[in-house]
Symmetry: C2
């Protein structure tokens, strides 16, 4: 069945980040729509941010394009260019390799949701803009290190 | 600027289909959001269907995943499984290689819009379910033939 039954998709929480960053994602959850529909070439997820929620640490992707459309409420997009409010129907694009990190904050008093589409490359690197961290993804397994490749304090 | 300025995106019309199929797309137009945002790895387009509009001839992709989310109004999705109504927020997924053609009809009395995400493979083949036609895409150049590769009547 091509239609995705969203009532059957479990809401995921948690973060693969090392601390203290994982705990900062406690007001974020997501629905893996694309996985539910059998897609493998790109992710298609709804990110849900409670008031005060943060979508991710601010980051940019080396190899993967990313696209966002707000589907409920409003979020504040943060990039090197500052803050921009995105409301329902607003979209943003982050081409691979553009060294301008982004993330989304819910500064409102109600839940906000947005669709995130991201290519799934076999190997990917992403750099974090505000902290000394990068991630290497190899076939879906993520390894976080300092930007120079040295271990994070907790491992 | 990562936010996509949708007011500056020209609404595209027309179809690359041979006749008589091209004329059947006259009530369809689209906004190329991903192109406007500099994305190349997947398409991210809003398809706009006037009442009576058809999104495409019913088809399935050999190599490319496809994802759809309705953003305004309602459409009727047609697949081998029959007709399914999709309303605002409803999503559907079409994994590459699944031989079950789909398209969308606007049977309502008001405009309908949906977001379409599709991988952009260097080479792609799509087959049409209801007519004797296929398309070969090579780096964005589309060639339509009969399913057996012979020319369409009009060339």
């Amino acid at each position: 069945m091509a239609k995705i039954d969203q009532s059957k998709i479990a809401r995921k929480t948690g973060s693969g980040y090392p601390e203290p960053y994982a705990s900062m994602m406690s007001k974020r959850s997501y629905l893996r729509l694309g996985d539910a529909g059998g897609l493998t070439q790109f992710g298609a997820n709804i990110t849900i941010l409670e008031p005060g929620g943060i979508s991710s640490m601010r980051h940019w992707h080396v190899h993967e394009d990313e696209f966002v459309m707000v589907t409920q409420g409003e979020v504040v997009m943060v990039t090197d260019d500052g803050e921009t409010v995105l409301r329902e129907g607003d979209c943003a694009a982050f081409p691979a390799g553009v060294e301008n990190g982004h993330h989304f904050l819910n500064k409102s008093s109600t839940e906000a949701r947005f669709l995130v589409i991201g290519t799934r490359a076999a190997r990917e690197t992403a750099y974090y803009s505000d902290v000394d961290m990068k991630v290497e993804d190899v076939y879906g397994v993520s390894t976080y290190t300092r930007t120079d490749g040295s271990p994070m304090p907790e491992g």
